[in-house]
């Protein structure tokens, strides 16, 4: 049993490393991908292209606009003479936000009357629209508050006695990722998904290749047991997967400063459970298909939902209620949660016990199903 297993593992590794393209896919590609994804995927929204339609032409209106554009959030790309032009400008994609200040803005303010300002936001990129809208609105609220303070101070002077103005003061403090760097959010997720891509597709293609080249026939007339065959087909890739995991965590730490606050041992332990589930599903696919091309197609077909329903891009909580329980069956989801929790929040095994348990159960189920299918269909 052991001799046969070692022979299989040795052969898999020989074949894998004899093919330079596979080595590139296995090791170089993940690191390149994590770098590209880490740099390209930004959740932060800043420098929103902004057009200003100042119809008031007063020092007050100019001051309001200057304040709006002062931070990183908005970048002025031009001015419009009239507010009516705003829709056309948004339509042509000249800006994502148009601030319209109607005539009489300053007059209303000096008289102490409500003054209106209009923000038009391009909603086609919903994330950007929400962030831009929030930034604009909170700026406007800040401005209103300043106006109120000024009026209260004036009132106090008039009455000769202080007038108290009680407002709520909100002081948000962001933990674990204080600068809200999106790389810190993404890199652990990217690591989980890369591991999925690399090991799932390679395993799915493994048995399919033996079928395609006819070597499976020759293997099946030997006394090899199906258990040995399954182990021999997955152990090498589990090993490679853990190496890739190490490389990706290292790349994340060095390049993006993703901290490794929790235990590395826990990361790799969870990684092993995750690989059990992923390799099991890869094996399941490879037992079902006839050739490598089918395996590849099937792999990509399953890849997209597995990644999108993992919470690696968008939170699971934002998904429809009926869909959320289904994501519990997705190993990527659990591993992404573990990676984020352990790397950023130094979570312990006890903190992520439910995810670890889910991975273990999924792993056993997938692997069990794969073994059953391989035994039935091949051996």
């Amino acid at each position: 049993m052991l001799v046969e297993l070692m022979a299989l593992v040795k052969k898999e590794l020989q074949q894998t490393f004899a093919d330079k393209r596979i080595v590139a896919v296995l090791v170089v590609l993940p690191v390149i991908q994590i770098i590209v994804l880490g740099f390209a995927v930004h959740l932060e929204v800043d420098n929103v292209p902004t057009l200003v339609a100042d119809e008031d032409h007063t020092p007050q209106s100019r001051e309001f606009v200057a304040g709006l554009l002062a931070g990183d959030a908005f970048t002025r790309v031009g001015a419009l003479p009239h507010g009516e032009d705003a829709l056309g400008a948004l339509q042509r994609g000249e800006a994502s936000l148009v601030a319209v200040i109607p005539p009489g803005f300053a007059q209303h303010l000096t008289r102490g009357e409500p003054a209106a300002v209009q923000f038009l936001v391009d909603g086609t990129d919903s994330n950007r629209a929400i962030v831009a809208q929030n930034a604009a609105v909170s700026y406007a609220i800040g401005q209103s508050l300043q106006q109120m303070r000024a009026r209260v101070a004036a009132l106090a002077q008039q009455r000769g006695q202080p007038v108290a103005l009680h407002t709520l003061r909100v002081e948000p403090r962001v933990l674990y990722n204080p600068q809200l760097v999106s790389a810190l959010f993404y890199v652990p997720g990217v690591a989980a998904s890369l591991l999925f891509i690399v090991t799932f597709i390679i395993t799915a293609m493994g048995l399919a290749r033996e079928k395609e080249t006819g070597t499976l026939e020759q293997i099946l007339v030997t006394p090899l047991t199906s258990a040995t065959l399954i182990l021999g087909k997955t152990l090498p890739y589990a090993g490679i997967g853990l190496v890739v995991l190490g490389l990706v965590v290292a790349a994340g730490a060095w390049i993006f400063g993703v901290p490794v606050r929790g235990s590395l041992l826990l990361i790799f332990g969870a990684g092993a459970l995750y690989l059990l589930a992923v390799l099991g599903s890869g094996l399941l696919v490879s037992a079902a298909v006839q050739n490598q091309q089918q395996a590849l197609m099937m792999g990509f077909f399953l890849l997209l939902p597995a990644l999108l329903l993992s919470g690696f891009m968008t939170p699971v909580e934002n998904m429809p209620a009926w869909l959320q329980p289904l994501t519990m069956l997705n190993p990527v989801r659990h591993f992404v949660e573990i990676m984020r929790a352990v790397l950023l929040k130094s979570a312990t095994a006890a903190d992520v016990a439910s995810q670890l348990l889910a991975l273990a159960l999924l792993g056993l189920a997938m692997f069990g199903a794969a073994s059953w299918v391989v035994r039935r269909r091949l051996a």
């Binding site: 046969e4 022979a7 299989l8 020989q14 293997i219 090899l224």
Partner: protein, 311 residues
């Protein structure tokens, strides 16, 4: 026969959908015998070998090894049988030595046994000098010899060969046959599938397969000797016209082109009727010839078609 056959098929049957690939097939091969499963592509040869090797489950019937029934993928089958598939079945990206060593380990050979057998197999196949060459860089003949070596590593008592000389040059082909005769001489039972009549005639015994059924069995020479029908070589000025005419004749069982002329198998009972018809028509030069193995096969196949086609 006193001893139980080395391998025996009893009423073996396998269907793929509505296609009966193998249909109630019976045959037995003794130790030291070279048995040919002969038939055109699609006759069920490969499926039969796969059934014998335990790679597919039979829909009916049994395979017996030395008188013992076997199950699919049973340990006894895998210990006793060596199988060489028709298509490529080795790792093209591994060398001769790596392939041998891999299969040696899968067969559970210990190091000393493996070394000894590897040396001996490389010697008889004369692959020794190429041991580091990748399998996909080997010529057709060398590849087959390597596949044969891999199938022989565990010293099987029964060797199943699926069109072993397909894509092999004539010299290597003769070498392969010499090797086979050697193994058979040493007591191995060999079942060989082939569509080639010249190869079939080199087997000790053959079973003619047609649509998954055995339509005849015996020593090739005896099959020819006992063939009850007549064969004619026919020359005609207008071969196409002659062909059209002959196809209409009820006496003609099988018809094939031969050189510039035609070769026909005529029902033995209607031999006289046929010659007088030919004389009447004129323009046909008839020469009665001794049937060869190919005539026998074509004749039997056409007769089997005729009897099943009407039904």
């Amino acid at each position: 026969m006193s001893a139980a056959p080395a391998i025996e098929a009893r009423a073996l049957a396998k269907r793929f959908g509505t296609n009966r690939a193998v249909d109630a097939l019976d045959f037995a091969v003794q130790a030291g015998e070279l048995y040919g499963l002969v038939g055109p592509d699609g006759a069920g040869k490969t499926t039969t070998l796969r059934l014998l090797a335990g790679l597919v489950t039979a829909d009916g019937g049994e395979v017996h090894l030395q008188g013992q029934p076997t199950g699919k993928r049973s340990a006894a089958v895998r210990e006793a049988i060596g199988y060489m598939p028709q298509q490529y079945s080795l790792y093209g990206d591994l060398s001769i030595e790596e392939n041998l060593s891999f299969f040696g380990k899968l067969f559970g050979l210990n190091r000393a046994d493996y070394r000894e057998r590897e040396r001996r197999l490389l010697e008889v196949t004369r692959l020794g000098p190429f041991r580091d060459r990748r399998a996909d860089a080997l010529s057709g003949g060398m590849y087959k010899k390597l596949a044969l070596a891999c199938a022989l590593l565990h010293r099987p008592r029964v060797l199943l060969l699926d069109e072993p000389t397909n894509g092999v040059d004539p010299v290597s082909r003769r070498e392969l046959w010499d090797l086979l005769y050697e193994f058979v001489h040493d007591g191995m039972a060999v079942v060989l599938a082939t569509p080639y009549m010249d190869e079939a005639s080199r087997c000790h015994r053959v079973g003619l397969l047609h649509h998954g059924r055995k339509i005849a069995e015996g020593e090739p020479a005896a099959l020819v000797r006992n063939f009850p029908h007549s064969t004619f070589a026919i020359e005609a000025a207008d071969r196409d016209a002659a062909l059209a005419m002959l196809q209409q004749r009820p006496e003609v069982i099988a018809l094939s082109p031969q050189g510039a002329g035609l070769r026909v198998v005529v029902s033995g009972a209607e031999h006289a009727a046929f010659t007088s018809w030919a004389a009447l028509v004129g323009g046909l030069q008839l020469a009665a010839v001794a049937p060869d193995f190919e005539d026998v096969f074509l004749g039997l196949e056409a007769l089997a078609d005729a009897s099943s086609g009407v039904a």
